[in-house]
């Protein structure tokens, strides 16, 4: 009897057993969670799931395409590399960009044959077409699907200058001396408004169109001339357009004259096929430089004769 009584006293109650089991479970669970929680080591994994894999590279000799240094090199790669990828796929040949440090270097590269095609500026093309073995085949369309662009004169939003006449005694920022915008203003518009370069306080050339706008925004210069497509990027961001040129034939895409006609035809076909009004094409050109966001139109040397006359440049016979 005594032993049974003692056994009954010693026997833990079910609640005590349950409490002990729960406590052990809690501690075990805590340890397991801690181990799992602190296991932060990971194998290499993609950091950005939205990144796209590069397009497959086509086979054959690479066609090198030059771009005048109108923008900083990284911007040129951002906007022009997708065009190279498209041409590589469309023409079945690899296309690659080859940049120059200044406008004229692109012409030199064409002469030397290190590039077979190039995106030139209108003014540079007008100057180069007489003496170099090149021909234009395409020109970009603007947002109205017309093959023109405009040069614009911009000032800061808070600037008192409202017209070209107001530039007297002011500091002017321009892109390359071989850019159309600079030559339009200095060689054409100033004279139309009764001004001479000497009437200005100073004129400074910068490597890129974007730099011109940055300089004006910073207040280092009172006005600047750039392409309309670059000015549109800064719409509502502190600049104001006070003058716009007439329609200018778009910056031409040129090829060396000795380039394989079949390849020229393939390039022309591929780029003229783009019609962003049709479904699917917009996605293609989304990453392209804004100048080419509306496609291309066929171009010939004649399209640029009128401009040559304005600048008193020699017209191609």
């Amino acid at each position: 009897m005594q032993i049974r009584k003692a056994a009954a006293v010693m026997k833990p109650s079910p609640s005590l057993i349950l409490a002990a089991v729960l406590l052990v479970l809690f501690m075990t669970m805590t340890m397991l969670v801690y181990r799992d929680y602190m296991a932060i080591a990971t194998p290499p994994q993609p950091a950005d799931a939205t990144a796209q894999a590069p397009a497959p590279i086509s086979t054959g000799d690479t066609i090198h395409v030059g771009v005048i240094s109108r923008f900083s090199p990284n911007l040129i790669y951002e906007g022009y590399q997708p065009i190279m990828e498209y041409l590589s796929r469309a023409c079945g040949r690899p296309f690659a960009l080859k940049l120059g440090s200044h406008y004229e270097e692109t012409i030199t590269q064409l002469d030397q044959g290190t590039i077979q095609a190039a995106f030139l500026g209108t003014y540079l093309y007008l100057r180069a077409r007489q003496h170099h073995p090149i021909r234009c085949i395409l020109k970009p369309l603007n947002s109205q699907f017309a093959p023109y662009f405009h040069s614009v004169l911009i000032v800061r939003s808070d600037s008192p200058i409202t017209s070209i006449a107001g530039l007297k005694g002011k500091r002017l920022a321009l892109p390359s001396p071989l850019s159309f915008s600079g030559n339009w203003l200095l060689g054409y518009e100033l004279a139309r408004h009764g001004l001479m370069v000497s009437d200005l306080d100073s004129v400074h050339y910068f490597g890129f169109h974007h730099t011109v706008i940055y300089q004006v925004l910073l207040g280092h210069f009172d006005a600047g001339a750039v392409k309309d497509r670059v000015a549109e990027e800064f719409a509502g961001k502190g600049i104001r357009i006070i003058a716009t040129s007439g329609p200018v034939p778009g910056s031409p895409f040129i090829v060396r004259k000795d380039l394989d006609p079949a390849l020229i035809a393939a390039i022309t076909t591929a780029l003229l096929r783009i019609d962003v009004r049709q479904p699917g094409w917009k996605d293609l050109v989304r990453d392209w430089d804004a100048e080419f966001a509306y496609g291309f139109a066929p171009a010939s040397d004649r399209d640029y004769d009128a401009m040559a006359a304005i600048f008193r440049l020699e017209v191609k016979p």
Partner: protein, 487 residues
């Protein structure tokens, strides 16, 4: 009151505690992992942003160098060291060209990917940035990011940077301890609140249990508990009503029991009737003879005096028998007085004397003398003895012996044994002999209440009654009665 080993309070607290802890653990783990993911993602994004920023500047430099706008010599090394100097969280930087050759690197030889040249086809030159969190003995936890130096499909190589991740690791550890502590504190707090709440609830129940434990049918007292309008209050009120009903039922039961006793007593009297009639008949015959003799010789005065004396004795005898019978049959309220068990036994034997003689039954008395006085109801004790003796007589139709023994059982009780040499009781009936209305006698000869009533009487005096029997050898009843009413 028996102590409860697993109280309602503990069970409720355990159950609710388990549920609460489980729920809190689920919530805490969810929060913990969510927070962890947030911290890791923030750190990853920060590191990725830093890497992207540096990669953009390196890419610009590479493009400028390619375009001839920047001299190649020392540019990348300067960038790497300048960046490391300004960003202490960056442990190392390595820049590979598109062929997997190192173009520039910091002096620190980091863990993991730092010195590994990306092999073609392994995905190292993927357009996607890759990241890895790794631990090595030297620098500890490092977040490594491999970022392609690439614009669209144009690739210049890749940039690899290692970020110190020890602080993040420590932060995660502190977060775990914080959440665990918070969980334990909250769970303990909640359990304490539940414990107190349930304690208040069960205190009322315990009080009620104590009241139930104190409950005595003999003395009905109102329940001393403050009751509210809740379920406990209802329980207390119902307990109070149940007490009243129990008391009422007990009184009814006692009444019924009294009626049963009386019925059994009357039945016993019926069984005594022939004996009593004979007892009365003998003196009556004597009286008649005396009257006849007196009538014949009324002048014989000596004879007259003698017969009158005899008639007087006969009438006294009749009066005594009738007095005994009336005394036995009268309905009494239970009355405890000091009594001698031997005397009460003798009184019963005198009632049965005629039947005993008639049935040729010998009575053997083995009385302890002196026997201590017993505090009991003498009429109820007589009834018990009468029932047992009648049963013994019934079992010995052809005569036999009844041995009656009285003994003092220590200083607290007396024992009475009535042993006969009758037919005995079948073993199969032994368990039922004290059941009401159980009888093995022929119909009309017994009510089946005798032993049941006897058991009730003995138990009401705090005593015990047991039986031993062997078929055809006899039966013995053992009665133990406490001297003062209860053992």
């Amino acid at each position: 009151m028996r102590p409860v080993r697993t109280s309602l309070k503990i069970r409720i607290v355990l159950f609710m505690g388990s549920m609460i802890i489980l729920l809190m653990m689920i919530i805490s783990i969810s929060v913990l992992y969510r927070w962890r993911a947030l911290i890791l993602e923030t750190q990853r994004q920060n590191a990725l942003s830093v890497t992207r920023t540096f990669a953009a500047s390196i890419l610009d430099g590479l493009i400028f160098m390619e375009s001839g706008l920047l001299p190649n010599e020392g540019y990348l090394e300067n960038q790497v060291h300048s960046f490391l100097g300004k960003n202490p969280e960056v442990k190392w930087i390595t820049i590979f060209d598109s062929h997997g050759q190192i173009m520039a690197r910091s002096s620190f030889a980091g863990a993991g990917m730092a010195e590994q040249a990306p092999a073609a086809g392994t995905g190292s030159f993927s357009s996607q940035a890759a990241m890895q969190i790794a631990y090595s003995a030297g620098p500890g936890w490092i977040l490594e990011i491999s970022h392609p130096l690439q614009i669209h499909s144009k690739n210049w190589g890749s940039l690899r940077m290692g970020f110190d991740f020890n602080a993040t690791h420590q932060r995660l550890k502190r977060l775990f301890i914080f959440i665990l502590g918070l969980t334990i504190v909250f769970a303990t707090g909640l359990l304490a609140i539940i414990w107190l709440f349930i304690g208040r609830l069960t205190r009322s129940l315990r009080q009620l249990v104590a009241e139930m434990d104190r409950f005595d049918l003999e003395k009905i007292t109102p329940t001393q508990m403050h009751t509210g309008e809740d379920e406990i209050g209802m329980l207390v009120n119902n307990f109070e009503k149940m007490k009243q009903r129990l008391h009422q039922s007990r009184n009814q039961l006692l009444d019924a029991q009294r009626q049963v006793y009386q019925a059994e007593k009357l039945a016993s009297i019926g069984r005594l009737a022939s004996g009593v009639a004979h007892e009365i008949n003998n003196p009556l015959h004597g009286l008649k003879s005396c009257l006849y003799a007196i009538e014949r010789e009324p002048q014989n005065l000596p004879q007259l005096r003698s017969y009158l004396k005899l008639a007087d004795e006969g009438l006294d005898h009749i009066a005594l028998i009738v007095q005994k019978l009336l005394g036995f049959s009268r309905q009494h309220a239970k009355q405890t007085i000091a009594m001698d068990l031997n005397n009460e036994t003798e009184k019963v034997l005198s009632l049965l004397a005629f039947r005993l003689d008639k049935n040729q039954i010998i009575i053997e008395r083995d009385f302890a003398r002196p026997l201590p006085e017993l505090h009991a109801d003498p009429y109820l004790i007589q009834e018990v003895i009468l029932n047992l003796l009648l049963n013994s007589m019934d079992s010995m139709e052809e005569g036999g012996t009844i041995r009656i023994t009285t003994r003092c059982d220590g200083a607290v009780a007396v024992r009475l044994e009535i042993a006969d040499t009758g037919c005995g009781i079948d073993a199969k009936d032994m368990d039922r002999i004290f059941d009401p209305f159980f009888t093995t006698k022929e119909e009309g000869k017994g009510t089946g209440l005798g032993l049941s009533v006897s058991l009730g009487i003995i138990e009401s005096h705090g005593g015990t009654i047991t039986c031993e029997s062997r078929p055809y050898r006899g039966t013995t009843f053992f009665i133990t009665l406490p001297l003062h009413g209860s053992l």
